[in-house]
Subunit: 87 residues, 2 copies
């Protein structure tokens, strides 16, 4: 599965969340990571992130694409992160 | 098509970019918007955003899902934006 993770967490927890996410996904832009994961790895990622955030203050969204066959990515401006082509 | 837009732009241009994006998409989280768009609307959105950013400094990514049939969204923590279910 292909996972896009976007987070909006308190400044004091940004580094922890980012470091956790980076173990599983590729950083593409401020607060955005993406990558191919197994179901098991995705579950591990979520479990680790849960421990790092305050659910009453922070917000993390995962978009899970079961297939990237119908998905494209377009970038405008600077391509900041490591590149990983969807299509 | 379903579009997810994530932006990472200079603070001085955040409001302009956000206001432009909001005309077409629903705000879901800091720097993230999403929504269903026609091809024509998507082209208009891109044209407007292009005028608002500095391409050598800012970065905007559009994920375009031709179908949301194989897509899920999971939210951890606060659900900040207006809700629009993918699945």
């Amino acid at each position: 599965m292909f996972v896009i993770m976007v987070y909006d967490v308190n400044q004091s927890r940004v580094t922890k969340v980012l470091n956790t996410a980076r173990k599983y996904l590729n950083w593409v832009q401020n607060s955005v990571l993406e990558g191919e994961l197994t179901d098991a790895k995705y579950e591990k990622l979520k479990a680790e992130v849960t421990k790092k955030i305050k659910p009453e203050e922070d917000s993390v969204i995962f978009y899970i694409l079961r297939t990237t066959r119908y998905t494209e990515r377009e970038i405008m401006g600077v391509k900041k992160g490591g590149h990983q082509t969807i299509i």
